[in-house]
Symmetry: C2
Subunit: 367 residues, 2 copies
């Protein structure tokens, strides 16, 4: 593998994780962040080989620049650095919305090659402290071709594919910007909007019945967990992907209106179809992923709410070298432990896990 | 504690859990289920002392009858058994919707006392196999007075309170049927409808872009987890609570329209307020619970996706007698382990957990 000089602009969770991994793979990684303290932390943590004294200093003489800033400022950053990097330098980004960035960049008529990118890796708001060199392993990593492909962009794509698949261990999918933005609106942005709307709707009920908030249960918190994201980040994302988000939210309203109609006309069959279609469609999600999203085989284990109860179960499975793909507590009520939901990689693992747990006297069952 | 003769009609998760707990507390518990096999399983598992040969035989000469059937048939069951139980017998139910039941029962002018009930305990569709004697511990258990209170219902309420608080360990809240139904629509029914609508809306996008399903991420599955419930059950619940569900879904529509308006007018501040209000309101949920819902103090721990990785973390905390109130995997992508999200009971436990994990070399951080 050839070692490259790579610059990372923006050292948050994504930038920091890129830095850790690429440095560990033998590339020479320099980093820059508007917040010098964050850059020094990255250096201190060993995420980067060097800190750029300025944005332009940070990207001087490198082969690849990853712009890992908030989506709203990617275009300006690209405009700022493009004239100052080498002719052969490849610039890419990690923005979760691609169309406006690709359109802006296309208008700039840059002297260098820009390929859009979006690692579809869960964006916990943990910052550099949560940076993880394994963040991209087996993740879907979307690369977006220029709107008017010209110059050596196929070569640039090839280089990025080698880095992303070879070094990051991600799976590259080439997708045009418009398609990408429609997809992320449907699978991520709209659900975030919906979660926030659900909480605010409960707020309307709580204005009349304050104890409604107090009685919200586990299912409510699970459903609205993503409503606890950064308001600034999500306002920003929605504004940058407004067309697709509005379309996706319109679909959501269509569905709610269909439900209302069925309920108003007391159409039991229509209601069952509404819920049944959702259940079946959701079950399809992993299956449709062609292996990129392994499906989960579940085992339920009632456990008492005592220290060590969860540890006893996980240790038992670990001793059989069973790897948990998922684990969560099914609360009988918020905060109270009821049962452990364990996700295993395949049917055989699930059956083995069941056998072990039952033989140890747990009232476990598969699903 | 005086031992009572208690009959349970319907031996699913709730009925089975009631049976296990009440029998273990020294009551004499008989059970009946339309499915004789389920009744025999309950007997075989030791959940009940005896099986009723028929519905009427099952409730003969008992002090309390718990009707734990689907909400749609509670009223008929009550009508069937009321004339055949003793004058002193108390009948109660566990239906998740109270107004129609209370209205039907009020019209019956029964010879015995009926008090509505709803244990607000997570309803996993596990059936008797998932029955758990601890299901109701610290759960909110709503009791609903008759619409036209008459006869010895205060005494009946007192008896049920003793059984529910003393034997089940739940917290009784007396609430009128209308208020109860508004609350459960807002905290449970509407979110279930929304989750199903979100999945079906993705389905509309997937009709144009099939790969959209394949790219659905962890956040999407978390948000729609409750959309995998039984369509029959949820159609039934919505039909029985239609007025409140329609009102709550209308609030959801209002919220979505407000969001659309803000996005169409590119009102960044309005969008931030929309997301910010949701985040703050959601954070209020546990605090508003006056201790019934303990809030969760979170610790994030990046872990490799290897057998034993999770066990190592949970064992470490168990060795310090720290009880996990919550545990889940933050997937960087569906099915892939990224970080463990641990929920602890209080700030002190979180700080101790952090200290232990950091001292063992984990890159853990609190939130």
């Amino acid at each position: 593998m050839e070692s490259r000089r790579i610059a990372i602009v923006g050292l948050g969770l994504i930038g920091g994780s890129l830095a850790f991994r690429l440095k560990s793979r033998g590339h020479y990684v320099t980093g820059f962040d508007v917040d010098p303290e964050r850059a020094n932390t990255a250096l201190h943590l060993g995420a980067i080989d060097g800190v750029g004294l300025s944005l332009l200093d940070g990207v001087k003489d490198v082969d690849v620049v990853f712009v890992a800033t908030p989506v709203g400022i990617v275009s300006e950053i690209v405009a700022d650095i493009a004239p100052h990097v080498g002719q052969e330098t490849i610039i890419t980004d990690v923005g979760s919305v691609k169309r406006p960035i690709m359109e802006n960049v296309s208008r700039m008529d840059l002297p260098v090659t820009f390929v859009g990118g979006h690692p579809m890796a869960g964006r916990e708001q943990g910052g550099i402290a949560a940076a993880d060199p394994n963040l991209f392993e087996n993740a879907v990593y979307v690369l977006t071709p220029p709107i008017e492909p010209k110059g050596p962009w196929p070569e640039a794509l090839a280089v990025l594919k080698r880095v992303i698949q070879g070094d990051l261990g991600a799976n590259v999918t080439v997708m045009d910007a418009v398609t990408h933005d429609e997809v992320v609106a449907a699978v991520s942005h709209m659900p975030h909007v919906a979660a926030a709307a659900i909480v605010n709707a409960l707020g309307q009920t709580a204005e009349k019945i304050p104890k409604a908030l107090a009685l919200a249960a586990g299912g409510f918190r699970d459903t609205t967990r993503i409503a606890s994201g950064s308001p600034e980040l999500w306002a920003d994302i929605c504004l940058h992907n407004s067309a697709s988000v509005l379309r996706s939210v319109a679909y959501l309203q269509d569905q709610l209106e269909g439900f209302q109609e069925a309920l108003l006309t007391r159409d039991a069959q229509g209601l069952e179809e509404f819920f049944g279609k959702a259940r079946d469609l959701r079950a399809e999600v992993p299956a449709a992923q062609r292996g990129l999203i392994p499906s989960i085989y579940e085992v339920m284990v009632p456990v008492p709410d005592t220290p060590g109860a969860i540890s006893a179960v996980t240790s038992l499975l670990a001793s059989a070298a069973l790897s948990l793909k998922d684990i969560s507590i099914v609360r009988q009520r918020e905060g109270e432990v009821g049962a452990l939901r364990l996700g295993l990689a395949d049917g055989a693992s699930r059956d083995l896990a069941l056998e072990i747990l039952l033989s140890e006297g747990y009232r476990a069952y598969g699903r």
